[in-house]
């Protein structure tokens, strides 16, 4: 129960990072997301921009910053594809907002919580993308639920490794 409680999280300090981290880490996520599928083929079950969005949203604990970060990452991801720009943007905007909102209320230092959060937010992102395509835009989109499940698991595993590494980059006073 100690991990829950809004007042507890509000008292926690807000993480700060060097400007270089704010620019290079999202850029690296976008580049690797574009490059790694060439190496891994159909087994690229991850979404690095989503993981990075969740990390910064949880760390900054600011819904507005999480929203803006998610929107930017999603729009750039859309721009690299040939699909309509905004589908990933909407999904990651919502994910960034939710992650930051959750980060205010629970202890995100806990690894298990990070794992579960990434898994759930990945599934939510996939669901929003499918919803946007099929319902909002009325487009034909075939998708496979197990691929989205594998992607959520892959994001969770990457987050378990990546989050501690990124924690070391924060500015400690």
């Amino acid at each position: 129960m100690s991990v829950l409680g809004a007042n507890f999280r509000r008292d926690m300090e807000i993480r700060r990072y060097p400007l270089l981290v704010y620019t290079l880490v999202p850029l690296a996520a976008l580049v690797l997301q574009a490059w790694l599928p060439r190496v891994l083929g159909n087994y690229a079950w991850f979404d690095l921009p989503l993981v990075v969005t969740v990390y910064f949203a949880l760390g900054r604990r600011s819904p507005i910053q999480g929203t803006l970060m998610g929107a930017a990452m999603g729009l750039f991801e859309d721009a690299l594809s040939h699909h309509a720009i905004g589908v990933n943007g909407i999904a990651k905007t919502a994910v960034g907002f939710l992650a930051a909102s959750v980060g205010v209320r629970i202890d995100v230092e806990n690894r298990t919580i990070r794992l579960i959060l990434n898994f759930l937010l990945s599934l939510l992102s996939s669901a929003i993308i499918v919803f946007t395509y099929r319902v909002l835009l009325g487009l034909d989109l075939e998708w496979q639920w197990f691929t989205e499940l594998f992607r959520a698991i892959g994001n969770s595993l990457i987050a378990m490794v990546l989050f501690p590494l990124l924690d070391r980059l924060q500015i400690r006073e």
Partner: protein, 404 residues
Amino acid sequence: MESLFARYRNLIVLLAILLVQIMGLAVQVRRTNEGRRTVDPRDTPGVRLIRLWAEALVAPPERGIESAKMAAIHTWQNYADLRHVREQNQDLQKTIDRLRLEQASLLEDARQGERLQALLDFQHRYIYSTLAAQAIGSSGSDQSRVFYLDKGSNSGLKPDMAVITSDGIVGKVRDVFSSTAQVLVINDQTSGAGVILETTRTRGILTGNAAGQLEVVNILADERIKAGEKVLTAGGDLVFPRGLPVGEVEKVVRDPDRDGFIDVIVRPAAHLNRLDEVLVITNTQPRFSPEQQQDLATSESVAGAEAAAIKDQLKASQIMAERLPGLIDPSLPPEQQPLLDTSNPVPVAHPPMALHPDRFTPGADAVTPSDANNNQKPDFSEKPTTGKPQTAKPETAKPGRTPQ
């Protein structure tokens, strides 16, 4: 009002950003003639700008990573090559001795190689113009099967150019930037190419499915289509030239949406998931060397001269025909017509005399039926000056004999 905004600031920002993106999406979607909704393939200037920014941001690091990868592979290969070099040197010394003995036979192979090279050069003169390019990145999403090339409009690439490898077709250039280009792979769900099955000559549309497989859709059920049949481009889509290999039939499944139709799953000939170097067909017109172009121009000019000569001949013959005298001259009286002129040294040919003249024979008015039954031998002599057939003279015929 201010306190309301401050209280719901986060939610207001979220809704505003979502609203802007939804409006942006609405602008990009249009309705086709068949009533289906689809993403407009032509980007608006704003969308194009965003794509340009993303490409400018991501492509240089991707290019760097690719170069680093190639350098690492090269370094590792060099290291691997240097290992065991001493043993290899000894083996090579022995190999040199053996190769000297084989040199004589190799000379003949070299001559054959020269001939084959000449043949290959001849073949190269007739294939399409291509440009080699390196794949440097992808979209990062399995919903969007595209990848990026390290060549762009600066190298002459244009949208809708076909991208191939030596194994088969890969996709088509979708978007071109200054130094990069985006290629839509044929196994994308929005991709399409006209194909034909090699044996059954069945035509269909090749597209990708959700699993990244190739499938030929809109085909009526046909039991002749079997696994292993080769699939080629049909050439009707104005992107891929006809006859390029696409792959081979992997299996045939029923179309879940329509009875009587099947989907043909195709195993791609090119390795679509492991693409490094590809060729972009930059021109579908056959290339001709300067000598061939000169030959073509010469042949066209010769053909034109021959046509002019034939025309002149026809004109001359018409003039000659007008100048030659006719058989009936309207300016002369009937008895002086050239047709009745007996002074012509070359008589007009007449049909031979009938062996058994009867009352139907021309000029046989005086022959009676009893005369015709006498079986007398006719006289085949004729008078050329009269110009008329002569009747038979029966006085020399011997009774009891029939003419043969």
